[in-house]
Amino acid sequence: MITNWLDAITERMTRSVAQRTSRRGFLGSVGATLIGGAALPLLPVARAGGGDGQPAPPSQDPGDPTSCDYWRNCSIDGYLCSCCGGSMNSCPPGTDMSPVTWIGTCRNPADGKDYIISYNDCCGKNSCGACFCNRNERDRPLYRPGTANDYNWCVGTKSIAYHCTVTLILGVATTPS
């Protein structure tokens, strides 16, 4: 239900600065190095059990992907595919992943690295309706599409019907961008 919006905003209003996984707090760190896509270690899928609210076991990809607070969701806008029969990096059955998309960078609290995240939409079916989340770190207006999450990015598929959004890791960022 869209009343998630009220929850999400309330959460943001009360969340303390120290708890925010904002990249701004860590800018200037030169410790991070670039790892190319092929060399990226396979991350264990931090899948929470059926939305029962239990946190995932400690891992390099921590947190609950069905939660708006999940670290990869730092610039997401839409329904979380983990709640829609997909996962944080896979589309639900019968939908098409749009190849064109907006891209952000999010801080992983487990390893302290800034990952480049691609927010591909799954398309061709009506809104999933579960787990709406809108966060806007590094989002910018429509005139800079590459970092604009306000577009319906299902322009790359046969149908622009928007269903949900995944969060694909493209690599680790070296510098603030």
Binding site: L27, V30, L34, G36, P99, I116, S118, A173, T174, T175
Partner: protein, 146 residues
């Protein structure tokens, strides 16, 4: 903060044993171009131009070299001239090496700065003209429709 910190940060990183200039160019491609042109440069027929196996063809026709810097997505990029030159060279090397003529001179910051100041307002007309010239001279066609 973004603008003034970058040159120092890049210098430090490029000097480090862990990060190469190619790594940085690739990251710049990912963050600024890949969203539409995709990871392999193939784009979307009729909507996003294909770079893969094609971009270098522009270097064979008059105005083509200038065109690829003056297209809005390049000319209006947030990247500074040096970073933009590096990305363009990286794209040609990684997506279209076979199309680049043997006497090709890589882009540098100065040339980028000059060319992007004269960005194209009507890219579609210019693209169509150049594609027609490329087809006539090289016998290759771009995919322009799905």
């Amino acid at each position: 903060m973004y603008r003034t910190e970058f040159p120092l940060l890049i210098a430090m990183l490029v000097a480090s044993p862990f990060v190469t200039a190619a790594d940085l160019a690739r990251q710049d491609y990912i963050l600024n171009c890949q969203g539409c042109h995709l990871a392999d440069g193939s784009g979307a027929p009729g909507k996003v131009p294909n770079l893969k196996g094609f971009l270098g063809n522009f270097l064979h026709v008059p105005g083509g070299r200038e065109y690829m810097i003056q297209v809005p997505g390049v000319a209006h990029s947030v990247l500074d001239n040096g970073r933009l030159a590096a990305v363009m060279n990286w794209v040609l090397e990684n997506f279209s090496r076979d199309q680049v003529p043997p006497d090709h001179v890589p882009f540098n910051a100065d040339e980028i700065g000059r060319l992007r100041a004269d960005g194209l307002l009507d890219v579609n007309t210019r693209r169509a003209e150049l594609l027609a010239t490329i087809e006539k001279k090289l016998g290759v066609k771009a995919v322009t429709a799905p």
